[in-house]
Symmetry: C2
Amino acid sequence: MPSGEDDLIARHFRPLATDPGALGLVDDAAILKARGEDIVVTTDAIVAGVHFLPDDPPDTVARKALRVNLSDLAAKGATPAGFVLTLALQRADESWLAAFARGLGEDAAHYGCPLLGGDTVSTPGPLMISITAFGRVPVGTMVRRDGARPGDWVMVTGTIGDATLGLDLLKGGAAAAALQHDVAAREVLIGRYRVPQPRNALAAALRAHASAAMDVSDGLAGDLAKLCAASGVSATIDLPRVPTSPVAAALLGRGVTGIEALVCGGDDYEVLCTVADANCECMADAARSAGVALTPIGRIMAEPGAPRFLDAQGRAIALSRLSYSHF
Amino acid sequence: MPSGEDDLIARHFRPLATDPGALGLVDDAAILKARGEDIVVTTDAIVAGVHFLPDDPPDTVARKALRVNLSDLAAKGATPAGFVLTLALQRADESWLAAFARGLGEDAAHYGCPLLGGDTVSTPGPLMISITAFGRVPVGTMVRRDGARPGDWVMVTGTIGDATLGLDLLKGGAAAAALQHDVAAREVLIGRYRVPQPRNALAAALRAHASAAMDVSDGLAGDLAKLCAASGVSATIDLPRVPTSPVAAALLGRGVTGIEALVCGGDDYEVLCTVADANCECMADAARSAGVALTPIGRIMAEPGAPRFLDAQGRAIALSRLSYSHF
């Protein structure tokens, strides 16, 4: 009786539907309990050949699809509540699906973000995964993009530029040649491209202390420009303060890449936030407690406009293309 | 400063983001206020060449993408609250996008279901639209699939089979030859394929009087089988009672199609529900008040199993393929 589609869902995805509101994935819809909080909704899709490489391992594809959404929830100060999944496949490849569902299930459990429902469709085109994720915040406390104020510190979590180097490496670019004998370094960068590290541990601290936040997905420079535009301010960033990993720093030192490429490259999935002077110490303490590296990289300036990026000599650097755009 | 993608969103989709929770589409996430109700979440995607034809008019593609989700909310007894949109495009075609956004905006306004957020990505593959829609129900009142009880009437809204005939027509099948001189009939059937008529007007009546409900998207026979399986019951359906439009009835009369094809064809987007004997009169009154045709087509039977479909002589008809499956 069950069709191939229902059977596929039952085998691979029902085990992930651990929330009672998912109704075991046998209904048309899921129930999301509100519990007196605001529901934060975010949606992000990834397409084979665009956001990930067609031969990326299926479990990392699943993790990336979920984590790019978890990263948005983190930046908004929201606690993950669940997600719905749309999977567009050319065909139902059992071993691919099993690995995909395993990676998805492990991340859903780890981040406390259960599968609530979804839709599986066939497509003659590339594999595409679209996820809509839900989070909870106390009423009125979602951290927005438009709250940055002059004098606020601009801060960023983790390190910037590793993922774009990882993609360059997978595509056989300059990083591939430079690291051809360094397996460990290659793995670090490729891992950062394939499997983002969303900063959900920082959510409560952002709600408590940040004036604005967003996740860095399309490049630090371009995303900061969006935050500034939404807040009606500008910013000045000290490029030497932008945190880089040891591998990225070594490539910068050897001239294999430039800081401009790193701050304009995509896929970081770090949190960019602004914090008033008075809250900086509390924010730093909270980040330490959460185990998330958080680095001040500049200040918010009053006059609206494009952010300025200063080099070690304090000279403004012109960035030709601030961030990734699909069109 | 704005990238092509941001510019596209601002031009075509920001006017649709009328809900304050959408934050003008300039944040990473939307805020869905809960207001002490349960949030009903449903997600359905449509792919060019699979769920609609590549040359379907862009405004009907938009309407179908939203309405297949509104249909799920209707069947669950939920009042629409908003939706998020993922649009995967090969390229940004301005006139196509303008027509698409116009159709989407008109439907969003008509059904009270504003755009809350979304993601626009490029794809080398076919156009795909994935929508996650939200509805509200008083806590604990979502109408589920698993509530059908022996003796309940099985009822269906509107008419069954028009959309599958419309698709057959667009593909040059038997209906195309039979109706080559009947423009009006062709338009009725094609319209039903391209633009579903979700039964949101019936939502409150379903909450009040139905024991179970789902929308009919993959074929009445197969969807009823799913409802029966979820409820642990079976059903007996009188095929002559299945409501058909005058155009479909004429094609049935001429032998151009058979009732089996109509009850197994997809894309009806009607509501299938079960109603206890005691509630039938109230349900009929409520449907009349809502202006939605609602027809009893059979009864729920106690022993679990596949539904039986009886012809005019009371003989069980074997249906070879109950419903559409992608895999």
